[in-house]
Symmetry: C2
Subunit: 479 residues, 2 copies
């Protein structure tokens, strides 16, 4: 960690992000262009994200499996839109074991094709359906402009791939998993995402319909944070995933896919962070509470450390992820800054005066200075801390929701739209034509983010062309 | 699943293995030569292996992180032995984003080089040491002869990479992690491995010393099941991993690496399986107990299923991984065979007579027929099942240990050695010369597996050349 101050968010949000990711030791640049190293602190956050999602996947009947990293180039070509979408981004293995390969192998950018091939082998009858499989793994997309976590050549994610006997079931699965993502983002990440449908322009290459959870970052730009796709029978036809139905008739299956990646770490950082550094939501934070012992002289040390270790044990026993910072080569003040930068939700200070009084000092990361500080009894501390972590989690969600809502605008005309998307999102009627969408992008760099699912009934005029429009959409500049 | 009988082990062990892996739906062949798909049942077993290992890694102070899949070709060339060992096995990416790359990228066969590079950036002072990082991921080695789980182009593993301030510490870490592997294999997998040191011929490319856990499969062949390497300062010198010691002098770090892979699934299959199929150790089995309801007529069904669901709930609450097979399209007899093939340790049968008597029938997978069958009261069933799973776990380890020990021989001369390694392992004095090792391999296909750590003091004559020898080694044919 360096002692230098972070660049403030309002000076250069992008630079603030780059600095905090590295200084908090979340990730580092790899020696290969555009690739990242996820450092232990960042990976511990990802492991907590994985557990929170994996539990939800299993509760909704899914199982995990692993499919190969390499996909024959010919597989991608079987689905027309899919290959058009992904071919500019491929990493290709042409040499194996010292010899040129007859057919080049693509390093998977996503696995619809190879999983579709396997499903065509495994699925024979309606009794084999639904197939509800998820995979945790790495994928590669040859991006030109990269940012740690947000867009890297290699990234980590989960990709769910399901096959169903009916269109209705596959559509229900698509929406179920969108709901799982929204529940996870809101209740674990304290990221108040908006669920909705992607425009035809923005949808996944090969999908009939894509849905998304969209989050507003601290600079008001949108971040697509997880997607769930209804693939119709496109991949079933391309890979011949067929089954005999109850009437012994051969049918094509209906498939879905859905994914959430290490990009979500970027969403957490840019939703909650401030000029002092990260602020991690307690439910996902690798360290929920850090204990800083305060002492000056040698006899004090032993007395303070005895209480520190007892408190640590009590918190651990209560399931709190707690760490004691017992470094002797740095001052308590240095430690305060260090753990603030790393976004630990709660700091616990224990010094000689606290020992005398039977108290500890608590400092909330989400409320700087006096406002977030309290002195509480050592007795019952585990319950106090557990409750406070719940309060912090709730407070982060409320703050992010208030920020989001105060930056969503209902522009009265196109001219106002072009202004508001410079510092927020516009929520406007849109005729759903590609031309109007393209015009907004051309004029403002804002794209359509999603058509939300629950919007009040009624019609309006397209904010761009004035024609009749049935639904509202969010326009925003996005990562 | 097919109704066909498995090829018996004593007819063709290799064919038995290939059949059971696919029929039990552990894994399948991918459309890319030598790659595998790990199916949900196999992956659930791997997840249990991961949890059992990860807990041990964290208890010994390690943290997880993620390093890139791609390594610049020039990195591998920095350590002479390493590149010689791995270059024939590399998959190479030469095209990215539609353009030929200036420097080809290797798909990692192992990560000492790229992790060494990052460590050289992160480690500055003795205060930064030790660095104790593990990574869960996939690696690629371009193998020519492949077998599901045992040797595939892509496989899944963990690789630990640590850096230390002294040789002594790094050597201690190497042995600590070997001990962790042995503890895991014996106490979780019920695989009675032997710990020891690899010969110079068999060691990891780039290591000063390699250690291994070696297991005996059901056909008496050896399987290297996990390795831990002391790398000396080889990679530290190649990648300039230097630190200022307490006297402010620049020193090279001492490093280790250690790995265990999906190959261990092969070890479990070939240690415990029989002609009816898999036998999974209860501690790792994805399903520990399967409940088969038995009924003929409609009124029976409801009565039986009520008890079945109650028993299921009781076992789940007790932490037993239980599944109810409530399929109606197949007979109980079919289900018995099906779950025997999948190696579920315990079968619980519940029929109308059991309901009358307040009992259930238990059938142990490790003891076929009457011997493994018992009728026990429904009252207290959770405790009965939990205890019985412990008994089965213990019994599997004892049986495998007895089998192993009855197939380890102490041949009196070289001629006898060439015989015993056809159906077992030879444990013999060896002068540790490469020539004698090569002669045994040439004559018998047996290689040195490991020089065990704890062997009785004393000297003997090399079984091959008759020269004085200090230590005994295991010779065996290996996978």
């Amino acid at each position: 960690m360096s002692d230098e101050k972070l660049t403030p968010q309002n000076v250069d949000f992008s630079e603030w992000y780059n600095q905090i990711v590295q200084r908090a030791e979340m990730a580092d640049y790899a020696p290969v262009r555009g690739c990242m190293v996820v450092r232990p602190y960042g990976w511990a956050l990802w492991e907590n994200i994985q557990q929170a999602l994996d539990r939800r996947f299993k509760e909704t009947g899914h199982v995990n499996a692993a499919f190969p990293l390499f996909i024959p180039m010919s597989f991608l070509e079987k689905e027309k839109e899919h290959v058009e979408g992904f071919s500019p981004e491929l990493a290709v293995v042409t040499i194996g074991g010292g010899e040129k390969l007859e057919e080049p192998l693509v390093v998977r950018p996503t696995s619809e094709t190879i999983i579709g091939y396997m499903y065509s082998k495994w699925i024979k009858s309606y009794r084999d359906l639904p197939v509800l499989i998820n995979q945790w793994g790495n994928v590669v997309r040859w991006e030109l402009r990269t940012r740690l976590f947000l867009r890297t050549l290699e990234f980590y994610w989960q990709e769910g791939h399901t096959a169903h006997a009916s269109e209705q079931e596959a559509r229900a699965e698509t929406m179920r998993m969108l709901g799982v993502y929204a529940d996870f983002a809101i209740n674990e990440g304290a990221v108040p995402v908006i669920q909705g449908v992607k425009s035809q322009t923005e949808k996944f290459a090969g999908a009939n319909m894509s849905t998304t959870i969209e989050a507003m970052m601290g600079d008001t730009r949108a971040l697509q944070s997880g997607t769930s796709h209804f693939l119709g029978q496109n991949f079933a036809r391309a890979f011949n995933i067929q089954f005999l139905d109850e009437n012994n008739t051969l049918q094509y299956a209906w498939t879905t896919s859905w994914g959430l990646s290490t990009r979500f770490i970027g969403a957490i950082i840019m939703t909650h962070g401030d000029d002092q550094g990260l602020i991690l939501p307690p439910r996902l934070a690798p360290i929920q509470a850090v204990i800083i012992p305060i002492f000056k002289s040698n006899p004090e040390t032993a007395i303070v450390m005895e209480t520190v270790r007892r408190v640590e044990a009590e918190l651990k026993a209560a399931g709190v992820r707690v760490k004691v910072d017992d470094r002797t080569e740095v001052t308590p003040g240095f430690k305060f800054n260090d753990w603030e930068m790393r976004g630990v939700p709660l700091r616990i200070e224990i010094g000689p005066k606290d020992i005398e009084k039977g108290t500890v000092a608590l400092a909330r990361r989400d409320k700087p200075g006096r406002e977030g500080k309290s002195f509480v009894p050592q007795a019952g501390l585990a319950a106090t801390v557990t409750d406070l972590l719940i309060v912090i989690q709730k407070s982060l969600l409320e703050r992010a929701t208030a920020f989001r809502d105060s930056h969503i605008f209902d522009p009265k005309d196109y001219s106002e739209l072009t202004e508001v998307v410079q510092n927020g999102w516009a929520y406007s009627y849109w005729c759903e034509s590609t031309e109007c969408e393209a015009k907004v992008k051309e004029d403002t760099k804002a794209t359509t983010r999603c058509i939300p699912l629950d919007q009040s009934a009624g019609k309006g005029k397209c904010i761009v062309c004035g024609k009749e429009a049935e639904r509202k959409v969010y326009f925003a500049r996005a990562y």
